[in-house]
Symmetry: none
Subunit: 197 residues, 4 copies
């Protein structure tokens, strides 16, 4: 986080809000400068250009995501509990600061700029790969069923996670994400745990 100045953080934050409220198309320099409450050219003292802003948002999201993933894996808890944490930590963060809605918007950021796309996909891979590692470890430890490949299990869990998040947002935050997330995590636990264990 130290890599961004206060002003930059402020701008990134407002940019995330703008995107969260009205989509990427709403992220114009004009709107952004209005949100931050200074003139358009002033933005350019803090970022080279619009791409730089988007890149910084992605960097910021990456930092957030890394911190979440660290928490998820932190304690010496079992793989199944880590998966619970994966849901809980993400949804806690998302629910507490709606503006960034973390991953959800990653896809929305796609501007068909190669450099940008690569960066976004990197963030998305980050959590997927971490989840995958957790699952694999769980399988090796005998906690998680092994009759289904790590890959397929990852897709199921990541998919459920993302779908729930998307639904929440599309419903205009009509339900309690943390509560529903917990239910979903339990369901997944039932589906993937090693029954013989």
């Amino acid at each position: 986080m130290a890599r961004f100045s206060d002003r930059q953080k402020e701008i990134i934050n407002e940019a995330l809000k703008l995107i969260a409220n009205n989509g990427i198309q709403n992220l114009t320099i004009k709107n952004l400068s209005k949100a931050v409450n200074f003139s358009e050219p002033a933005i350019y003292r803090h970022f080279a250009d619009k791409k730089d802003i988007l890149m910084s948002i992605i960097t910021y999201l990456t930092i957030c995501e890394k911190s979440i993933l660290k928490k998820v894996q932190a304690s010496g808890v079992s793989a199944l509990d880590q998966i619970d944490n994966f849901f809980a930590e993400h949804f806690h963060q998302i629910a507490s600061e709606r503006n960034s809605t973390v991953m959800k918007y990653s896809e929305a950021l796609l501007q068909h700029d190669p450099k940008l796309s690569k960066a976004i996909i990197s963030v998305m891979h980050l959590s997927r790969d971490t989840l995958s590692e957790i699952i694999e470890a769980g399988q090796k430890a005998g906690e998680i069923r092994t009759d289904i490949s790590t890959k397929q299990l990852t897709i199921v869990i990541m998919g459920a996670f993302r779908f729930l998040m998307a639904s929440w947002q599309q419903s205009n935050f009509a339900f309690d994400l943390e509560v529903e997330g917990k239910k979903q995590a339990e369901a997944i636990r039932k589906m993937i745990h090693n029954q013989g264990h």
Copy 2:
């Protein structure tokens, strides 16, 4: 389909291609008219305005989706087989005509116009609800486990379906979607079937 003229279908098709190739931002009247190979004002004889085009795309996607869902449920096959079909039919269609990539882009179409958003969410709900019905029927028929709620099962399956599709696209179509889809469907079957059955 009868609700669209040939010209309109042509325009919708090219619009879908443009979006598929470079995102919504690439769907400008200029690009579209270039793609359809007639003048910009000519577009306006076929559609009232840009929103109308987007709306028509959504209508078109809805029609496609309905037709797929019909096929999925058609035969008197079991719920579990219908879920297999859900994957198979969608991925078959997506893989065969990359341009429309059906659902995938639905989210990308979001323009933060209330009417539009509603329509898009409708398409997305369409398949979710159908899937939900299939699952519920499966549970009632004893094919699908009942220790997990229909809702949670739906999220798992829809999530996996969408995540796989998204991965395929982000990977630049690097793997065989139909093959991977089949594997994923099998994994899901293992996870949801009623074991006592």
Copy 3:
């Protein structure tokens, strides 16, 4: 000339006027659109971008220059007379339509764009090389002294021609260019003719 539409010619002409009056820096799309009396975006229906306008100006100047050079060499007059013509024809054209001031501004057009620079230098070489050929022919025909190389003679004549033109313009058209041009041409004739002849 047929390569430009009427509107394009109109725009080029106004652009030349703007440059002639206040320099390249004065050639903005806004000023240009004001001069042509339609909106800024309208310019873009006729030219791809500003570079395209500049390129077209150069093309236009090239066409003009070629036509002048053709006149200069046309008749079967002697080399010395062709040099007289070189001055006369150029200065006649420049004096009659101040806006284009032909060559003079070529240098002013330099925008440090490689493609543009190349095109401008081409126009400038065009007249220099033509003049060089005339001189060489004159030397071979015994009309022009041969104790000075063609190259050095070319520099002297081109230099005098350009310097007089620049002076005229810097003086704010304070003297009669055609009259002074004639005097200068005579002086040059005295300096370069083959005395033994």
Copy 4:
């Protein structure tokens, strides 16, 4: 030179480099401050505004030019030799410090500000008038032909001088300016010396 502080000289020098490399359009306060390696506002402690910088550049060029002209006329050499010197001294200076390219850029500095224009034209007149005096003296002394007026001779010599310089620069310094300058000076000597002498 004493009229400029060290800092000012430094700034002027970098400004000349910027102009030499990419034209006047490249002379922005931002670029200049980057080149001098301090902040933009810092420029304003050394110069009132951009016009002041341009004015100072012209003043600087004037000082340089005066010093060159002094050298040219210095010794009690003949008029024809002074003309040789005129070429030699200028081209020597230009070739040795490409950045200022003295006169050459004078025209490029034209910003269509009346005060500025006047100053630039003054520099250009300075050398022209000095040359003119030399020629006139040479004519009176019987060294230089008198069948051509001083004015016309001046135009020929100044023109050749400037044209050669411009060619050198447009060719991207592809030839040895001092060598070609010497050849040109010899050619001119042949053309203007008093033959009966």
